[in-house]
Every structure is written in structure tokens, then in C-alpha cells.
Symmetry: C2
Subunit: 500 residues, 2 copies
Amino acid sequence: MTNVLDLFVERIGLIKSYEESLALLSWDLRTGAPRKGMDVRSQSIGNLSGEMFKLATAPELGEWLTELEKPDTYEGLNEVHKRLVTETRKDYDRSVKIPPKLYQEYVVLTSQAETFWEEAKANSDYASFEPYLDKIINYTNQFIDLWGVKGTRYDTLLDMYEPGMTTAELDRVFGGLREKLVPLSAAIAASPHQPETGFLKQSYAKEAQKKFSLFILDQLGFDFSGGRLDESAHPFATGLNPGDVRITTRYLTDDVTSALFGTIHECGHAMYEQNIRQDLIGTTLCTGTSMGIHESQSRFWENVIGRSLSFWSRYYGDLQQHFPNQLEVPMEDFYRATNVVQPSLIRIEADELTYNLHIIIRYEMEKLIFNEGVKASELPELWNEKYKEYLGIEPANDGEGVLQDVHWSGGAFGYFPSYSLGNMYAAQITDTLEREMPNIWELVENGNLHPIKDWLTDKVYQYGKLKTPSELIVDITGKPLDPDYLFTYLEKKYSAIYKL
Amino acid sequence: MTNVLDLFVERIGLIKSYEESLALLSWDLRTGAPRKGMDVRSQSIGNLSGEMFKLATAPELGEWLTELEKPDTYEGLNEVHKRLVTETRKDYDRSVKIPPKLYQEYVVLTSQAETFWEEAKANSDYASFEPYLDKIINYTNQFIDLWGVKGTRYDTLLDMYEPGMTTAELDRVFGGLREKLVPLSAAIAASPHQPETGFLKQSYAKEAQKKFSLFILDQLGFDFSGGRLDESAHPFATGLNPGDVRITTRYLTDDVTSALFGTIHECGHAMYEQNIRQDLIGTTLCTGTSMGIHESQSRFWENVIGRSLSFWSRYYGDLQQHFPNQLEVPMEDFYRATNVVQPSLIRIEADELTYNLHIIIRYEMEKLIFNEGVKASELPELWNEKYKEYLGIEPANDGEGVLQDVHWSGGAFGYFPSYSLGNMYAAQITDTLEREMPNIWELVENGNLHPIKDWLTDKVYQYGKLKTPSELIVDITGKPLDPDYLFTYLEKKYSAIYKL
């Protein structure tokens, strides 16, 4: 039996090595790989993904799993191996349903589509991207058929990013949230106490922004001996292994907030990956347990901590030193400006409150695509209609409309809800954190942030995929996901800012 | 038959994808991967290499080769597929002879040995490294037995880096060269016209060096849309594919020549890889044909062009603009200083002329090890004797003596001769180039370097591995490798500089 376990663990390690390599190949593409090599690189990514896929769907792996799942054997396994067996079984059963050739075609298609999407977005030229999106939707529908449908077709996709999540559940939580957000949003818009934000949009030298980003990363607890900060068109975080976690940011010289909050956001992702338990290294459990939980960590640091009054009462002076001519306003004005609520067209630039409406729009559109058969050609019009309905504004072109996000070009349907789930998880976890660490805001005011990171390591980070998202949230907060925490948090914070 | 060809070409493409990925994993380790992730990264590199080895030694590949080698089939193949079959057969036969277990042991041993070599070098402690070197020599001898000996045992190793090269041939070319170099070297040492070099060792700001490096790369013809320049402790070039060729350099702020000539050297390697024919992309023929020919291109650009009077008559003014306070000497003094000849202990710091003597010493020692059974314990003494005999100087310790190079710790016996072969190929190709392009030095004086790159693309670069090194040199110059070209070139250049 030991032998089967060894073979199983060795195979998992091999798969993890492919994951690390593919993560690097893709990090590199996004941080400065020469453009001319992209076609060949896509081919390499496709080939390696195909090889990894073969290893992950090989008959012998199925046989080892069956052996290890026998009750007597399973009970003798340690907790890591138990979970590894459960997780691998789930992935295995899902993956063996996809013919390798189909999967590889899909990987190459999506890798190329990202390049075409970039061009289409830059030129606001949806027509040039539509055929790719159409193909990606077709492949995804083929996958759904192969995987089999439980609940609705879209549920099959949701489960990939947030295990156990369903359309029914999201309709419930998003519905509840939307119902309360719309009037709060309206009250904010009607408030006479609108923050001044003009001073945020001045000339902010890139080098000084970079310097401050590095300083703040260190303050937050980012480990530079096991990570690095680079630049890319779209900020992201990628954990190759806990000793090599990379984040990127983007410096806009006419807006100091973009890199600032982008960096803090990615740092949240990174600290999750950097602090996973040593005994999970080299296994497929060595990553965040779901996109929603991952996003809860980036948003906790970006919004709950990074956009708090306590945080800026400590760090505004440092920021002013980097930009003495630009930041002459009092700290409170800076705090209010970075928390301005304003319906906008671009998701990644949206405020903490209306952000959720951007997500709800994408969620509803993805539901339409997969549950109602809406076509790629119908998306721009639908998009514009929903923005008008929920946010009261309409894109002038598809570049700032339906083409704004990279996700669909990579086939990541079902991913968007994670962002709002992240906001909800974060608010619910914060509620527990404030009760277990009553001096938290005093710590933040003193720039003593590491105890917070340590608490999160203890509760969240260390476990990687050892717990499911729903196990995790119950273990930490004592109850399942509840959207009211997010609304309560938003209402309290923004009532104060807008004096409602 | 078409089917077998397709399977074969697909497998080659797959192997090439592993090569690209491994090249990136290793480039990344050397250009800034976080230290904490190195162990896991090594594991990933090991795992992927193992997978690639399996694919390259799989029985079905042998069967496809046998099919494709049948005369009727082979004659119907195009030139690329013909050569691909020949090359793959050679690699296949070589690789399948090594029992995977033995290979695995050897990989572990050499990866450990590199670490111990580093320590031993730092402490000048040969005794601590000797047992590893002894084992590596033993494994290499076992490999030679498995591969089979043609000519001498050392020939089996030479053939790996310079296909077709033999001890008999190297004895001839190195013997002829050494005989003439030693008196030339002595005459130079005795010349009263020694260049002044002190001004090269001042404070040279890194940013200005970097700017000039980028400028000169562009002038030489490096394609930035298909390549990039980074920094690393030891400069290198790596061609992931012709659209993604990366070079690194190292900026020393107290020496302007290190990055300068290092960058030009790596640019020579890079332009070779950037200009390989499109139809070789995605095959294992898409790389330089041998280490010697590759080195001929880096050395051609570094020494023949980059250390020429014509080159600096065009570019010295630009360099002065970057360092107006440091470079007040006339151009001719700068030219002479960058061509100073001085017997030294360290190969990688040696001048263009005595460099070859460093290589000849290593060649003679490797011959003694594998053809005469000289033991690891005898090497330090032998090393010191040869340095005294050929260069007139002796290392004070083994750190600056027998331990200076990384090569033997990695088992790369047979590699060193490539460096001097590169010098010889470069001189012989230059002779043809000067006859076919009589205005070459006028072009260089005008900074019109691209016609030279185009000529080399036509003669060398485009072919990748489509021609063997010996086919290539005969096709270009009309005759096989002849060391007299190098000596004639060196004698002419240095007689002028030292007024002999």
C-alpha cells in the first residue's frame, strides 16, 4: 500500500512541477517576453499543458486513487494525503471526460485569443475578437456537456472556481446585495458631502510610486526573499511555490491610486501563497482553496485595511514625503478621496461599493450565455443595456465596454463572481477578526500590521487547499457565507464618509 | 508513411517545447528568481528534464526513426526532415545506451557537485572537491564505455559539443597555433609600446553603461522585438525560439569594458539564434550547429568587429558622450587599451590572444584524464606546471587555478575546445567575408553594420543545425578548418598595436 501512496505522491509532485513551469511561462509572457516569440510560446504552453493533462488523466492515476480510497487504506492516511486523494479524485473525474486533443486545442486557442483581445480592446474593435470569443464559448459548452450538468449549465463552471457554488446560491446572495446596494448608492449620490478628488490626478513620478510600493509591501509583510514585484499591463499575482510568489503592478503617472491600491491588492494574494504550510509544498494543495477566498484576502488588504482611516493616519505622512508637492491636503481629505463612490465604466477602477454591481452584470451575462444560449454577437448590446440599468451610464465604445476584461479571452467563465464573493468573505472574516483582536485598529494606526498577517496565516493562509472554502468560512466565523456582513460594513463606512 | 512522419515531427515539436520551457526556467533562476524558491525550482527542472528524457528515448521514437530511415522513405523527405532524422538518430542512439538509473545518479551527483565546487573555489580547497570530481570522471568513463569509443576515448566527448571533432584534428590545429602563439606572446611582452589602461578602471555609472549597451545592440542588429537584455552575475545568451532570444550582461561600475564587450559577445550569440530559418522553428534543428560555431559568432562580433580600430573610429565619440569625464584620451589610446595583451591566471578575463593558451591547457588536461587515465588527485600540480610553461605564471592557490571554471563540476568534459575553435572559425570566416565584401571596414567606420549581419545570416545563421560545423565552414570558406587564419589575424592586429 505504501508503494501506491508513493507512486501517487510522486505523480502529484510531477503535476505540480508542470504547474510551476506553466505559471512561469505565463508570468513571463505578461511581464516582458518579446512579442515575436509569442506564437511559439503559445505552442509550448499548449504542449506542456497537454503533457500535464495526460499525466493528470492517466489510467494508472485512477487505479491508485481507487486503491487509496478503500476505507481501510484511506483511514490510515494522514490529513494531507486524505485531502489530496479527495481533491485529486474530483479533478481526475472532471478531466478524464475531456479528450486530450480537445483540451490542447482549447489551450492554444485561449493563449492566442488573449493577444487578439488585447488588440481588439486597444482598437475598440469587437468584430475582430468576436470569432475567438465565439469559439471559446463553443469549446466551453462542449466541456459542460462532457462534464455533465448539475443544476444549471452555468453551475458546472462556477464549481471550478468556487467549489460547491451554484446559480441558486449566487442569485440569493447577489440578489440580496443588489437590493440593498442600489438605494445606498442612490443616497450616496444624493449626499451634499462629495469628496474632492482632483488632487489624486496630478503628475506622480513613476520612480517615487515604485519606491512607495516597495515600502508598503514591506510594511504589510510581503516577503521579498520569497517574492518579487514587476510591472505588467494588468496587475496580477502568481504563486509558483511559497518561496517564489510574484506580483505585478502598473504605474500611472497621472493617478497615484492605481499602483498604490493595486499593489496592496496583489500583496494580499501573495501573502496567502507565501504562508502556506511547508508540508503542502510540492502538492496540488499548495495554493489558495478557491478564487473567492483568494480574492477575500486581496480585498481585505486593499479595502478593509488599505482604504481605512487608521491605515492612512499612519502612512499618509510617508506618502506625502514621496509627493510633497502633490499631497498638500489633510489626511482626512485623502482618505475620503480614495473612498469616493462614483458609478463608472471600468470594473478595475470601480470603488469598493459599485464594484459589486460590475460583477453582478458579468454574472448575469455569463448566466445568459450558458443557461440561455445568448451568442457572442449579442454581448455588446446586452452589456451596454445592463450598464445603463444598474449604473446609469453607458460605454462610448466596446473598448471601455464588453472588451474591458481579459477573462473571457482566457475562457474563464464563472470566475467573475469570485470577486464579489471575496468582498463578502472578507467582510465576514473581518467581523470575527475585530472580535478576536479588539485592538486591531490601534495596531493599524501604529503600523503594526504583522499580527494581522499572522492571524490570517493561522486562520486562512497556512491551510492552502486543505480546507474547502465552506469549511474554512465556518471554521473561522462559525457560520456559512452571509452577504449581510458586506452590506453592514459598506453601510457603516460610507454613511460616515458621506454623512448619510 | 506520412503518418509516421507526422508522429515523428510532432514528437520533435514536443521535445522542443520542453527545451524552451527548461531554458526559461533556467534563465529566470539566473536573472532574478527569489532565492527561497530555488529548491522547489530545482525539483521542477529535474522533473521536466526527466519527462523530456523519457520522450526522447521512448521505444516508439526508435521505431519511427527506423521507418523513416528506409531508403525509399528517406529519399522522399525534404532536406529539413532528412537532417532531423539524422540528428535525432544520433541523439537517440546516444541516449538509449545510458540506463535511466545511472543517468539519474549522474544528474544528482553533478547538481550537488556544482554547489561543492562553488565552496571549494571560494576556499581554494581542492581536497574537498576532489572526491566529487573523481566520481564525475568515473561516471563519464562509464558513459564513454556505453557510447562506444571511436578513435580515442576523449573523441567520444568532443563529438558531443563539436560533431565530428577528434583529438587528432585538435592536436593538429592547437599544436600549430600554440607553436606560433608562444613566440608572438613573448614578443608582445617584450615590446616597449605597452598600452596605458588605467583610465578604463574608473567610476562608470551603471545607468550610462546600460544606455550605451542598448544603443550598441541596436547598432549591431539585435532585434529587440524578438529579444531582451537583462542582468545576471555571469553573462549568457539563451534562444528560447528565434522570436525570443535573451541576453544578459553584468555592469561593473569600476570597469567600462566588462559590460561593453560582454554585451557585444552575447549579441553575437543572439543574432545567430534570431536569424534561423522559419521552417526550422519548432524543431530541434532550430539552434546553433555546434558550440564552436556559436562561439565563432560571439567572438567575431566581440573581437573582430568590436575590438577593431574601425569600430571605435565610429563609436568612440558616442561612448565619450556617455562618459565625458572618464574618457578624455584619444580614440587610438582607447583602442589600444581594450586590446592589451597580458598573460593572466583567469580564463574569462584573458585577452583575445592568450585566451587560446588557457583553452589549450584545459584541452591537454582533459586528454590526459580520459586517454591516459590521469587521476583527479594529479590535476592541481599538472595545472600549475602548464600555466608556468605556456603563460609563464603560476597560480598562488587552486581557487585561481584548477578550481576556477564551473565546467568540470557539471561533467562538461570536451566543451573547452569550443572556445578556441570559435576563434579559429571566426578568423577563417572573416577572411572570406573580407574578400566577398571588400568595403567591410568602410562599412564599420560608417556604423553600417547590418550588411555584415545579413552576410552572416546568409552564410551561417539561417541554417541552424541544418548543416554540420564542417559542412558549414567548407561551404563558406571553401576549405576545412585551418588554424593559420587565426594566427595571421592575431599577428597582423597585435604587430600593429605593439609595433613589433
